[in-house]
Symmetry: C2
Subunit: 408 residues, 2 copies
C-alpha cells in the first residue's frame, strides 16, 4: 500500500502568495472601482524585444519544414546557445567551458532540483530573508526538521538585516551547502567583491558548496560599486560554486522560460567533477531539453543587438526603482536595495509589522507589496516592492503611497 | 563537507544509447560513403502541422506587444489548454476536471519527478522490458538496491515476452506502485480493455498506484482492437491511477516540449486527494510552467483542424510501421507491435543475441535498431525498430534488411 513522502505532508500549502491573493481579492470585491497596483510579484511587464521576436518567428518557420525541423535536442542544450553564453562570460574575463553550461527552462527548476544530488543528511544554510524555493525544496527532501516560529529547525538561517548591511555572517560550524543570491531577492542588496572573496575562501576551507543565484545580475550598475556579475569572477570559485542564471529578468523571458546552470567539471566539493557528472545524469534522465525555438530566442538575446535592446528595457525598470527609492526616502522611510536590483526592501514605518504595513498600503493606497516576514524570520519589519510595473503605474503608486503616509 | 547522494554514485552512465552512438560513429568512420538509416531513437521527423505553426506565430506576436504580453503563467498550465484537454477526454466519454490536469514540458520530466511524492521505502514494479526513466528515477531516490545481471535488486520486474503475449503477470505480493505503458515502449504492444480492468481491480484491492504512461495513445487503431486510450476509460481508475500524456508523438512536439499529467483529486491511494495536492505543491515549488507560446500551439493541435492535420502525419508513421511489419514477417521474423504503436519488437533471428543482431544489421545493412536487452532482462533476444523515419528511408531500410537477411 502506497505511503507518501512524509516530508511533503509537513510542508503545508504555500502561505505567502495565497494569503496576499486572498486579501487583494477581498479588497477588490469591496472596492470594485479602484485600480489596484501590484508591486508584489517579481514578474516583468514589458514585451519581448524585436530582436527576440524576429528570432522566434524564424525558428517557428524552421519547425514547419522537413529540412529545418528540430526534434529532440540535446538535454544539456544546443551548442549554439552554450557557446554564446561562454562568450558572454569571456567578455567579463571569466573562462567557462560550454560543456559546463546546462540550459534549462528555469532557474527555479534548477535551484529546486539540484539538491537531489546531495546526501539526505546534508546541512543547508540560507541567508534570511530568503527566496522560498531554496528552503522548500530541501524540506521536501527531508532536511527541514520541524517548523517553528523561527523557521525550520533543520535549516540554518543567516540573518541579513540593516544592522549588518545585509551581509551574511560566517557560521562557526560550516554547513555543507550555502545558498547565496546576489543581487538579492528579496532585499535588493548586492554582495561586493571582497565579501564574495571571503565566502569563496570560507567554502574552500570547509569543503562547502555555494549555490550562487545570479538571476538578477543584469541589474548590477557597474558605475556605482564593484559588484561581481558572476561568482566565477572570484578566483577559485569554480572549485566550490555552482551558478544559476536566467533569461527571465535579463531578457523578459518569464513567460518564455529559459535559464542555465553552470556546473564546473573543476568543482571539487563533493568529489572531483562528481557534481558535474551527476547533474548531467539527472538532466538526461528526468529532463528533455528546452524548446529549440526558445533557445534560438535566447541566442538572439545574447547577440549585440539583442543585448542593446534588452538593456533599454532594463533601463525602464531601473528608472522605476530610482523613482521609488527617491520617493520613499523623501517620505522618511528607510529604503534598501533598488540600485543593483529590481527590488526595494523597506523598513515598515510607525511600528507596523510586515502584514500591518501590507494591509495599510492596500487599504489606503491600493498598492500591493510583499510582507517581508513571508521571506523568513529576519524579514519581519520589512516589505518588498518590485520595480516591474509600467512607468505610469509606478508614478501613480508612489503618488498614492505619499498621500497615504502623509495623512497616516 | 558536502557528501553526494550515494544512490547516484551507483547509477553509472546511461549505457545503452551511448554504446549505440559509439558503435554507429565507428561504423561511419569506417564507411564514410554509406548512408546510415536510424530506426533507433523514437524521435519524429515530420515538421509541425500548419495549424500549429500559425498558432505559434500568433502567440509570438502576442509576446511582442505590451497589451498581449504574457509573463509568468500558472504553474499548472493555462485554463484554455486544460479545458481543451478535458474536452478531448469528454469526447471519449471520460470525465476529467481541468483542475486535475497539470501541463508540463514533458512526460519524461513528469514520470521522472512524480516518484518524489512517494515514501523512500516504496516498492516499485515495472513491466520488463521497460522505458529506462521509470527505473532510473527510482534508483536515484534509493529504491534500486544493488545492480545485478537481472536488473536492480530493489525493483520488481514483470516479464512481458511473446510467451505471455506481453501481458504482465500479477505479482503475488502487490507492489506499492506499478508503472504501466500502453501502447508500450519498447514492445509496441497494447493492453486491451479486459486486461486494464483486471489491473485496476488489482490496484483497488491492494492500495497500489498505477503510473499509466499513455504517451503513444494517438497510435491506437480503433478499427482493429478494443484498446483504451486512457486508463480512465476503466471505471474506478480515477481512484488508483495517474496518467501521463504528451504532445511529442501526437503532434510532433518532441522539440517543442508540451505534455501533461492527470492527477485526480479523487485518487484515494496514498490518502484521499493527497497526491493531487502534493503534485500541485511540487510543481509550484520546483517548476514555473510551460511557455505560453507552446501552450497556444498545443491548444491549436487540439482543435478539430489541428487533430485532422496531426492525424495525417500519424498516418505516415503508421504506414511505415505497416510496411516494416509486412517486410519483416515475410522474411520469417517474429514481429510484435507496430499496429497500435510506432514501435516494432522483433525476435532476433539465427540465435543472435540483441547486440549481435544490432551489429549484424549495422554492418550488413547500415540500419540502426535498439538492442532489446538495453530495456531490461526480458528484452534479451529482441530488437526495437521505430517507424519515425521518412517513407523513403523506411523503404530503403527494409530493402537493405531483406538483402542482408537473405544472404546471411
Amino acid at each position: 500500500m502506497l505511503r507518501i513522502n512524509p516530508h511533503y505532508a509537513r510542508m503545508g500549502k504555500s502561505y505567502l502568495f495565497a494569503e496576499i491573493a486572498h486579501r487583494v481579492a477581498k479588497f477588490r470585491a469591496d472596492h470594485p472601482d479602484t485600480n489596484v497596483i501590484s508591486m508584489g510579484i517579481g514578474d516583468v511587464t514589458q514585451p519581448l524585444v524585436p530582436c527576440v521576436i524576429n528570432a522566434l518567428h524564424a525558428a517557428v518557420d524552421d519547425m514547419g519544414s522537413s529540412e529545418t525541423f528540430h526534434g529532440y535536442g540535446p538535454e544539456q542544450g544546443y551548442p549554439f546557445l552554450r557557446e554564446a553564453l561562454a562568450l558572454e562570460y569571456a567578455a567579463r574575463g571569466v573562462s567557462i567551458s560550454p560543456d559546463d553550461i546546462f540550459i534549462s527552462d528555469g532557474a527555479k527548476c534548477d535551484l529546486g532540483n539540484f539538491q537531489e544530488l546531495f546526501a539526505p543528511e546534508t546541512t543547508v544554510a540560507v541567508t534570511d530573508p530568503v527566496y522560498p524555493v531554496y528552503v522548500d525544496s530541501n524540506c521536501m527532501a527531508g532536511r527541514g526538521g520541524t517548523w517553528t516560529e523561527q523557521g525550520w529547525s533543520g535549516i540554518r538561517y543567516l540573518p541579513c538585516t540593516a544592522e549588518n548591511n545585509f551581509i551574511p555572517p560566517f557560521p562557526e560550524i560550516a554547513p555543507d551547502v550555502l545558498y547565496l543570491c546576489s543581487p538579492n531577492n528579496p532585499t535588493g542588496t548586492a554582495l561586493n567583491r571582497s565579501t564574495l572573496e571571503a565566502w569563496v575562501h570560507y567554502a574552500q576551507r570547509n569543503g562547502m558548496l555555494i549555490m550562487f543565484d545570479a538571476a538578477y545580475e543584469c541589474f548590477i550598475d557597474d558605475s556605482q560599486d564593484d559588484i561581481p556579475h558572476s561568482i566565477y569572477e572570484i578566483p577559485g570559485a569554480e572549485e566550490v560554486a555552482v551558478e544559476f542564471r536566467s533569461f527571465s529578468k535579463s531578457a523578459g523571458f518569464t513567460g518564455l522560460r529559459c535559464a542555465f546552470a553552470v556546473v564546473p567539471s573543476r568543482l571539487n566539493v563533493g568529489g572531483n567533477g562528481q557534481l558535474h557528472d551527476m547533474w548531467a545524469r539527472r538532466q538526461t534522465t528526468k529532463y528533455n531539453g528546452c524548446p529549440y525555438i526558445v533557445q534560438k530566442a535566447a541566442q538572439a538575446a545574447c547577440s549585440p543587438e539583442g543585448r542593446k535592446q534588452t538593456q533599454d528595457v532594463i533601463r525602464i525598470y531601473r528608472s522605476n526603482a530610482t523613482l521609488m527609492r527617491e520617493t520613499m526616502k523623501n517620505l522618511g522611510l528607510s529604503v534598501y536595495g533598488g540600485v543593483h536590483a529590481p527590488y526595494l526592501w523597506v523598513r515598515t514605518p510607525q511600528h507596523m509589522n510586515s502584514w500591518e504595513f501590507f494591509q495599510f498600503l492596500l487599504d489606503r493606497a491600493a498598492v500591493v507589496c510583499t510582507p517581508g516576514s513571508g521571506f523568513g524570520p529576519s524579514g519581519e519589519g520589512y516589505a518588498r516592492f518590485t520595480a516591474f510595473s509600467s512607468p505610469e503605474s509606478t508614478l501613480e503608486a508612489m503618488s498614492r503611497l505619499s498621500s497615504a503616509l502623509k495623512t497616516a
